[in-house]
Amino acid sequence: MQAVRANDDWAMLEPEVMEIDGRLDNGTAPDVEEDARLCIQSGARNMVFDCRRLTYMSGAGLRVLLSLAREMKMAGGKFAVCGLQPQVKEMFEAAGLNAVIPAYSNPGEATVARAA
């Protein structure tokens, strides 16, 4: 797993895109959560998780997405995901997260939608 901040625009006119790859599970979720939380605490108010290279997500991953969406909402910001792969999408939809976290097909679509 690797979480990479793909842009450095902390003013948040553009979404903060974090690339998440590999697995989001008990082994990796705490680091991803901490990185994203630091971004929120540093002022990020528009964040997108780019999941195009995320191949597996467990229950721990779902909880991280929920926690970050909750934290961002409480801070008055927006949180979304994009590029969900089959297993990840199946988990995401099974937990009904599509009702509370917007999901886009790719970062470009997410950026346009989030900037609107």
Binding site: N26, A60, R70, E90, A94
Partner: protein, 222 residues
């Protein structure tokens, strides 16, 4: 990361299931209550990052003891299962629901030790035993109930810990005692939405539904 809450989800669930007016548990079906208690133990281990799950299986990811005497035997039993043949959540629910009474008893003893409630045994008509658990400090129970009810009545994204409590409460039909008739009638979709967010809670709901169906069929009502 250990939960900041000194009591477990299982113990918090027991507090939710206790009627503060009578000191007795709300009249939940024993089998569904045991299943929810087992689910609560699994939830506690997921929050302590000892186990994880996907749509198919639940598995141990870190067998290091939590230091909690209620949870560690559960973790130990799961850790002994063969790694190469992981089991679904339903399997573990059935396994630990069979130990529901012991888990409940341990949770209640810990709540007694913390001075949150006390145990009172009485005889009715000198024959029938009656056990009550009056609260000594009601803050924990009140706080848990307010938090869970708040999740249902507001439209916020709930914290994972609260999602799990809502899912467990929903799975065993506890909301009919926690909410007014009016709130219960209007909150159905929200309770369903929140409960769905936790896959362990979903599994508990499926298991309790199967138990209720089996009981109804055995009783000739279906």
């Amino acid at each position: 990361m250990p939960s900041p809450n000194p009591i477990t989800v299982l113990e918090e669930f027991l507090l939710l299931a206790l009627d503060d007016a009578t000191g007795q548990f709300y009249p939940l079906a024993r089998s569904t209550f045991d299943c929810a208690v087992a689910g609560a133990a699994l939830v506690d281990l997921t929050l302590r990052q000892r186990i994880d799950n996907d749509l198919k299986d639940m598995f141990v990811t870190n067998a290091t003891p939590t230091g909690n005497p209620l949870l560690d035997p559960v973790l130990q039993q799961m850790a002994m299962a063969p790694v190469l043949s992981p089991k679904p959540i339903a399997h573990w629910l059935r396994t630990f629901a069979a130990e529901g009474e012991a888990l409940r008893e341990q949770g209640l003893r810990h709540l007694e030790a913390l001075g949150i409630l006390k145990r009172e045994d009485k005889k009715i008509l000198w024959m029938f035993g009656s056990r009550r658990y009056p609260m000594i400090h009601q803050e924990e129970q009140r706080e848990a109930k307010l938090r869970v009810i708040g999740v249902i009545l507001r439209d916020d994204i709930p914290a994972p810990h609260d999602i799990m409590l809502v899912a467990l409460a929903h799975a065993c039909g506890l909301f009919r005692y926690l909410l007014s008739d009016h709130d219960l009638a209007s909150s159905g979709p929200r309770i369903e939405q929140v409960s769905r967010m936790d896959l362990v809670g979903q599994a508990v709901a499926r298991a309790t539904s199967e138990i209720e169906t089996a009981i109804a069929m055995a009783s000739g009502f279906r």
